[in-house]
Amino acid sequence: MKTLPKIALVTLLGITLAASAAALKTDPAKSTVSATFKQMNVPIDAKFKQFTVAIDYDAAKPDASKASVEINIASFDLGDPEYNKEVTKKEWFNAAQFPKASFVSSAIKSAGAGKLNVTGKLTIKGKTADVTFPLTVKAEGGKQIFEGALPIKRLAYNIGEGEWKDTSMVADDVIIKFHVTAQ
């Protein structure tokens, strides 16, 4: 009996989305979310393989835009299966308890042609913080490409506990980069 309200909710959401002309359809194959950090000064770039992005954007009314991102933490790929397993553990992402990281925008403001300033809440490992970052938008072959980089401090989200708090080993600065293709 529990499924009925769920169906109603999904239908309602579907109607809401359909009613908004600015909701874009993202192309996961042409979108990436990655994290760049330094380990003993060695730059490492790793991708999140599974994520969903919802963007509401109308070039005519940029300030009415909305964006949300949900990332499947266990899909973080360091290029080595053993390392991928390690970073899902408690000291790092604790993926068992916090399987998702998310970003939900609270305000998007136009900052000149093709530029937006995005403010919102970033949640990783159960910690939520207000963040602001610049985003660029460009039209390419009938599609919109959104690109941005969000610098964070990993320790603010408890990523790397215990002996991994040592920032000479893994730097505190991490840049979350994304490239989203939508239509």
Partner: protein
């Protein structure tokens, strides 16, 4: 007794020491299970040692080409040829072992940052297909070098203790 030049002697022993250090560090670091700061530190140090060996090997090869080594000592022709062949192999491996490790690191998507200061040029990009191949190549070349170094050292000791000639003495500091 005609000895090797002071530079050649210094390079020989310095490189020998660094190769042994890199070899022992390499054997140990791959045995560390999981993901620990020590493991990451050892990997970085191992790579720094490798880059140092590669640089010194280049200097040594240049020095060897520009400076005549001491004349060959009296020994059977087969021994002379074996020694010559072994020296060529060791020179080759001094380059091949670090180069294979360097390429393996880049194929794995991990740049080499010498001493944590200088990022080395990326000769190849991340390559998941090439990564396991280069891992095997690095391992096989390393073990070949371990065997060659052992044979080289045993031959030198044999010349010193049994033949009682100057083979080892002319390379001693």
């Amino acid at each position: 007794m005609q000895r090797y030049t002071k530079t050649a002697i210094a390079l020989h022993w310095l490189i020998a020491l660094l190769i042994i250090a890199a070899f022992l560090l390499g054997l140990n670091m791959v045995e560390i299970k999981g993901f620990t700061p020590t493991k990451l530190k050892y990997f970085s140090w191992h790579k720094w040692l490798g880059v140092t060996v590669l640089g010194l090997a280049a200097i040594r090869l240049l020095w060897r080409l520009l400076n005549k080594p001491p004349a060959a000592l009296a020994m059977p022709r087969w021994q002379h040829l074996a020694a010559e062949g072994m020296h060529h192999l060791l020179y080759l491996l001094m380059f091949a072992v670090p180069v294979s490790g360097y390429l393996y690191s880049y194929a794995a998507g991990v740049p080499v940052v010498y001493l944590g200061l200088f990022e080395m040029p990326a000769v190849i990009g991340p390559n998941p297909e090439l990564k396991p191949v280069l891992k095997t190549v690095h391992y096989v070349l390393t073990m070949t070098m371990a065997g060659a170094v052992l044979a080289h050292a045993l031959a030198a000791i044999k010349h010193h203790l049994i033949d009682r000639d100057n083979t080892l003495k002319r390379m001693l500091p």
